[in-house]
Assembly symmetry: C2
Homo-oligomer: 200 residues x 2
């Protein structure tokens, strides 16, 4: 009941998430996490069971605090505005110098691959969630008349997932958002041209 209760778990998680986001899972050592969180190794081990367990918490936090707000853009009633909003917001995160480059979930996907374990499962679930969000939005666009009735929503959604992950790769590699910006421009030209319903 009594005793000291300081040390904000939320702040620690945020700091750890950013550390992992900067350097990847393996490259981030417990020492790095100590520095990032300002916590002692013992405290870290005490609060979170292990490095992997901490990383899982960080991935969950990332999905909740970073990925989900992006998906909110898809709620816009106009399909073109929704897609534009999503990718514009993604690009502006790339431009934010306070945000680490790339995407934590994408880094984890490449690093951990399909290795057994909780993390790999989370990575796949994250991918699936993004796919379903896009697919649901595309289906809505079809019933709204913003997309042709015969649109393969699953395929289009997979394409959008692929693009968003590819953008993260581009941003991670070159550090700026130049190429990613071009890619988004290309996307908006080709896939969802302004003026809503696609011809033909």
């Amino acid at each position: 009941m009594s005793g000291r209760k300081q040390f904000n778990e939320d702040e620690a998680l945020e700091a750890a998430m950013r550390a992992f986001w900067h350097q990847g899972y393996e490259a981030t050592s417990l020492s790095d996490l100590e520095v990032a969180t300002g916590l002692n190794k013992s405290s870290l081990y005490n609060a979170f069971e292990s490095k992997e367990a901490l990383f899982v918490r960080c991935l969950e936090r990332y999905a909740e605090r970073v990925a989900k707000p992006l998906a909110w853009e898809l709620k816009k009633p106009d399909f073109h505005a929704a897609i534009t909003g999503f990718f514009d917001r993604l690009i502006s995160r790339f431009d934010d110098p306070s945000a680490p480059p790339g995407c934590l979930a994408t880094m984890a996907a490449m690093e951990l691959g399909q290795s057994a374990g909780v993390t790999a499962g989370l990575v796949c679930a994250n991918l699936e969630a993004q796919h379903e969000a896009f697919e649901a939005r595309c289906r809505q666009a079809v019933s709204d008349g913003h997309l042709a009735a015969d649109t393969d929503c699953g395929a289009l959604a997979a394409l959008l997932v692929s693009i968003s992950r590819g953008l993260a790769v581009l941003n991670r590699a070159e550090g700026n958002s130049a190429l990613a910006r071009q890619a988004v421009a290309g996307l908006l030209n080709q896939v969802t041209p302004a003026g809503a319903p696609r011809p033909q």
Copy 2:
């Protein structure tokens, strides 16, 4: 002059490349490389200067032996066939169980980020090369009348780069090519519908 000359450098490089491709740069230890190449640690250090130098050689080999043949598909005279050929061939590599999942260059891009060093430069150069190859092909399609005259070829090329890297992420994460296949189908539906010249 005389002496022994066995130990095929080409085979060693191939094996090392596949090892890096499977596990990433950091996660592949010298011991792993010993097992993969069948060479002694001393031999590796003797033939290639260091682990990083070996990795650079592997990246160069990857660009030459894996990436370049993919780009050859772009030489097909019909634009739609060229793009289809590129991505179909990429997908079939994902289906090849003898090929490691994902893409070595993309893994390196995520892992090494924009960290200083030779490798980071190579990764960016690789990205730029792919972008230029796509852009040149798009320009040709414009002059062939396969793409609208006002097409932003740089943007479209960046989009295609982004998609191809995103596909590697998808394949890496889920191990199969299901989602990647869907994404390519979406791409072919939206960006380069069969029947050549895009409407409008």
